[in-house]
Symmetry: D2
Subunit: 363 residues, 4 copies
């Protein structure tokens, strides 16, 4: 019972890397939302393997089928089930993993937890699971766009030690999609590409940072004290494969600031409401959005799968050497971008719907 | 409906800074656990104000009363309600906050969300709310200690730019409690004390980092794909007042490592199970504990309340100056330590109980 | 984790019959609702013991204290905690129950489940637990009255074999409260009173039926397929102590009807929407309200506590005789009325709030 | 967000009568359970249309495909997704329903709730939705059988005014499946068959009662105070299409009994635990099972679809006549039996798993 996310806009994902397919059920999407399979495919295409030479070459079109919840182009209010069949599953390629534990993968921990595991390509722990999330995120994107005007955009802001110079307030989806790295700084993108290709050639892998911004978020979203906006975003991001850290607004940089330099001063705003002259809060104060852009960062570790031999242990607790094999991404960052967006979208959609149950009496 | 945390071991907190009191209801604690009010008071005393000159001088004994769920010294399996009356509430001291929004506090966002707010000392957004969490954490601590042998320990590892040198594997609670800063490195602790006192004198405030370790955690805890251990810990920590970031294991430092240097090699372990020679995973792989210590960091911003005049806006959207007043901590870090521990304890207790519903068939 | 009810309007009750007190935390009540302790006390007074010679003579004023969530007479949107101290707890009167299991009580099953029990007056299984529900129901009553105009009214429609003749469409709260039985048919009420007093004198007890109606409920409440309105009402009612059955609309009488006589014909309604000429559906079709009154029945068994000696078994699995003792109601029906109303109120309030997350796009 | 049922053993259903298909995702099923598609198909075959002349003639094989969560014949602990494609959907047959509301169906209420509806065969409100429940119930059946030895069995105990004479303690699945009515009393079954065929010929429909028993249930299942076993069963049953009432043990008959005749006397049991000489409690006391068989009844109304002309209203609020058309069951009772079993199975499985989080400390 850990495969469901959200309180009101709620997704349940299922499926394994080399099983019949991957899917998601979205429950709680409001009715009468125009939704087509293309809306979903667009984001799936940004997540799918084989988009560029930077990503794994597994050949998957990741074609989505909407099985329920949409009638004559509009959502019905019922659960929306989406199915993506696995096409290029090559279980045989994983036979050598049946009896050993890959370092820093979930092979051992799945075995410890469940006493049993689908060892084909990581089974449920594969990043293919995020197909369901990205599909659900595409629905949330439609809802937030149509009903509220909220836009969520993420990009690669760092790969290994190569940081990007990006204007958080003005960067666009076209800027991000302009390069296969999904880094909108062309100079950094070129360096990242070279670093990733070097790592691949060297049988190694790289980590990095995705930065995400949500624009047009109204003040008032987020529910104290446990379902704070930043708490739910943190959970959402740390539930992504390979993520190791999250911070919002000033984040870890806040540590070395002082109250005087860190506080966001309020000034009278144009619409009768205060606005802030800085946004170290990251758009959230006390767990509730303040109307400024939400912005946060997610740290990803270097891909655990590398094309080098590694020492490890087999299921008999014997030392063995894991030979390098299989198809994998030398750096997950470019494909992590739509995953981060998806989890941010479903989180914000959930909170936007929840706020409708709060603001019910005349002000 | 955001004041409840946990799936099986579940706490619901209530109360405001200057209302009648603060409390918590813990539902799902197993029966027959020996529990006394002293078990709870011990942790509350580490959280309460006025412990040292580094903390706010509000005079609160924070005396807990157990109202239900414990009979003749043992838990009954029913909900455990705990009440702490507010004693030193001075609402008058906050009259000037009725009509203005303090920078980087939740005054404006509560108003935006609820259209109404208890302006006395921050109301529900006050860190006094964490009394309920710390009380619940003390119960979880008893449970994990008696039933599993899990120990959770946190400390201040950085204040502003002063980092501490601490051996994560050997540091003890006595080391932590030896100094009012709750930094177990005496040299750093002395520097932190001076920095905090300087900040106070200067009408300013400081941020920092709390590091937390959980020892004795069995492999197998955490539920893919959304209720991963690190995801739930991230949410738990980002739900704490003033927190801005979370990372686990190598965390943000993973970004500049490569797969070859980052992966934790497995070697045959003494109990027939593999163990790792490093712990960059932070005790969690694929969302599930691997038997190594869990370790993570939480970043806290400098206290938003400072003893300096600040520009801000009133409820009429007019620019005003906020004069410095009231009792507050110039640095929340020392008192954040028991809060971090409490949220880690309840999270791990919840997952330990959940795992009992997974491991039900003979292996 | 079974002491919380509701998805959005959510109550958590705690407390035992002879512990420190009984309470409830209501999370999810919208802000800016006018609420006083008198609003709550009014319903508690209808539930409390000692109201008439028909009920137990335990002397409890059941005085409520609002501990949080209300500021200057308005709800804040934060959790509302309510405390009722136990005043007339006489644990000594229950010493003889420490080692035996009362027939058709929960003594044995609590022992079986928890391996431990608070044997004082039934502990958590006592009907005193419903104080928290009734207090939460009073808040829901205020909300539904102010925000929607929904009214919920219940009454005793049968005691033992004495049925009442009541016009479901016109009966008022004053009619119900006119008699200590809470049966609004004066002839039946007199006969019920006599039957209850006879049973008491005879050391016996009686069961009966409570009928409940909700008026002014808009069409559209209830969430297919599991959270249907009637499903949630059924759960709510069967969670009340001593309840044995629930039916809605035609209920069990539907069994012997045919489709032709049972279907509710639609006719054009005055507001551009269809209305029905009969209401065998009980105001709910397909799990969703249709705008007609919701009406349902709840069956209660005769009180398990009787003033007669009974054969039973002690904790050593030995046959013993339970002597009659203690204070109890010979018929729970009069006091069950506010409990049924409370559970209906919180269920409908929850669904009314939930519907606000469905109806979000322009029609 | 009403399409998920269960706390720990959790099912989420999706799909419409005339969409692409119907499905379910079961999350929380323990790993290492032997499970085949035949286990699921067996129960689906008892639910599917066209089994006998008593049921609708819609031609559906209802063939299940397991898409995830099972690997080499064993459950993995991951979510189990099951898909049943619709084969004999004839949307055209429902064109005349696009603009009108069938009496006592959910057409109007879905429109009222969602402002939009899939009018093809009732869409989501069709009893085809229960395919997902029955599939999930088959998994729960496997789990309870293998891990606990619990058996759940239901049968038709009444159709219209024809009651059956059945020994609740000894009736078997073979007895139930021996007749197309699923009534194990052959005399009553013959009369029911005749009555149902008469009703069909007459363009009418009949209701009835399903009785259900769960054997081998250990004492201690059910969670006070809201998640009592009978409360969850009541909700489960009232969430089934066409159900109107639920009672447990003595149920509505308890009303006319007295405490002396109703209480179940305890006597010393053979295993050191008390047992009862009667079972008017229905196997549940205070919301917790006592080790006796659980037994309860569910009332179903006569099918709302009848082959007779009916007065109704169209979406323009105009009076119209609904001509009889389409394929339907003149009496849902025979096919309701596996639905009732399924909901009982998943409810008991959920509570059995939950109890494992309660009984964790040494007794």
């Amino acid at each position: 019972m850990g495969n469901t996310y959200g309180h009101t806009f709620r997704l349940s994902t299922w499926g394994e890397s080399h099983g019949a397919g991957i899917g998601v059920v979205v429950d709680g999407c409001p009715p009468r939302l125009a939704l087509t399979v293309e809306d979903i495919q667009r984001d799936l295409d940004r997540r799918r393997p084989g988009q560029s030479r930077l990503t794994t070459q597994r050949g998957e079109a990741d074609s989505a089928e909407i099985l329920s919840g949409v009638f004559e182009g509009l959502t019905t209010g019922g659960p929306i089930a989406i199915l993506v069949r696995n096409a290029d599953a090559r279980s045989g390629a994983y036979d050598h993993l049946r009896d050993l534990y890959r370092p820093s993968h979930a092979d051992f921990t799945y075995e410890a937890k469940y006493g049993y595991r689908d060892w084909r390509g990581g089974g449920r722990s594969s990043a293919r699971e995020t197909i369901g999330r990205v599909a659900a995120g595409a629905i949330a994107r439609r809802l937030l766009d149509e009903a509220v005007g909220i836009q969520v955009l993420a990009w690669v802001s760092q790969v290994h030690d190569i940081g990007a110079d990006v204007d958080r307030d003005t960067v666009t989806i076209d800027d991000v999609e302009a390069d296969a790295t999904r880094c909108p700084d062309p100079v950094a993108a070129a360096a990242m590409t070279e670093a990733i290709e070097d790592a691949r050639r060297d049988g190694d892998s790289l980590g990095g940072i995705v930065t995400c911004v949500a624009r047009g978020v109204p003040a008032g979203l987020g529910v104290p004290v446990f379902d704070r906006m930043e708490a739910d975003l943190a959970r959402a991001m740390l539930s992504l494969p390979a993520s190791k850290g999250f911070d919002i607004g000033s984040g870890f940089d806040a540590v070395t600031m002082t109250g005087r330099t860190h506080n966001d001063p309020f000034v009278p705003g144009p619409d009768g409401r205060p606005t802030t002259t800085s946004n170290r809060s990251g758009g959230v104060q006390g767990g509730i959005t303040n109307g400024a852009d939400i912005h946060f960062r997610v740290a990803f570790k270097p891909t655990a799968t590398i094309s080098s031999a590694q020492d490890t242990v087999n299921t008999q607790n014997e030392a063995v050497v894991l030979e390098a094999r299989g198809r994998h991404d030398p750096c997950v960052l470019p494909r992590a971008v739509p995953m981060v967006e998806a989890m941010a979208l479903v989180t914000i959609a959930d909170h936007w719907l929840r706020q409708r149950t709060v603001d019910v009496l005349d002000r």
